[in-house]
């Protein structure tokens, strides 16, 4: 039961992120919520690979035949973190330019493209 706690928390984090993205109007806040959502996905991935009593998947110095947690999900998480950083940087630089041009960060006012 306790072993499943990370999954629940990951799902809750995802829900918190979605709620924040849908209910907040400031763009920077939306990016913060996006980061939380992404962290939730990362936590979910890492928890998938966790084995009770496993050790880190590093060959140096580990006893022979020890139970290891799964390295695949860690590689996936790492990739996702990299992608997330790139996305965050791109979106935030967009927001900075947008604020200079529009004078606001409120998504209710950033809607020149409509109809």
């Amino acid at each position: 039961m306790i072993g499943n706690a990370p999954f629940f928390v990951a799902m809750l984090l995802i829900i918190i992120g979605i709620t924040g993205m849908l209910t907040r109007y400031n763009l920077v806040r939306i990016i913060i919520s996006l980061t939380i959502l992404e962290s939730g996905v990362n936590l979910f991935l890492v928890s998938l690979g966790y084995r009770e009593g496993g050790i880190a998947p590093i060959f140096t110095g580990s006893p022979d035949g020890a139970l290891m947690v799964m390295p695949t999900v860690q590689a996936m998480t790492l990739t996702n973190i990299v992608i997330g950083l790139a996305t965050t940087a791109l979106l935030l630089s967009f927001i900075m330019v947008l604020h200079r041009r529009y004078g606001t960060c409120d998504i209710r006012e950033i809607r020149r493209l409509r109809g």
Binding site: I55, A56, I58, T60, G61
Partner: protein
């Protein structure tokens, strides 16, 4: 001689984790921005302590690398917050 008594380290880790939760109160309630940054700094220091102790519990010396990095990088974060707060932005 393997692992004579890791239990003190485990207790230590638990107590520090509870302290983190306590420090979160200041992060929530801190009336001003510097207060929150102070709380963040406290959390960082505690986490570094936890990581030191976990390095023993997990019996992996390479885990301590993470703690060193953590100490350095949290410093950078703190400096950034201080830079922003000191700049008199509204």
């Amino acid at each position: 001689m393997i692992l004579l008594f890791p239990e003190p380290f485990e207790i230590c880790v638990l107590v520090l984790a509870v302290l983190i939760l306590v420090a979160l109160y200041r992060l929530v309630a801190g009336p001003t921005s510097p207060d929150r940054v102070v709380a963040l700094d406290a959390i960082n220091t505690l986490v570094v302590g936890i990581m030191f102790a976990l390095g023993v519990i997990f019996r992996e010396n390479i885990f301590v690398d993470v703690a060193i990095l953590y100490a350095v990088l949290s410093f950078i974060g703190t400096i950034y917050y201080a830079w922003y707060i000191g700049g008199r932005y509204t």
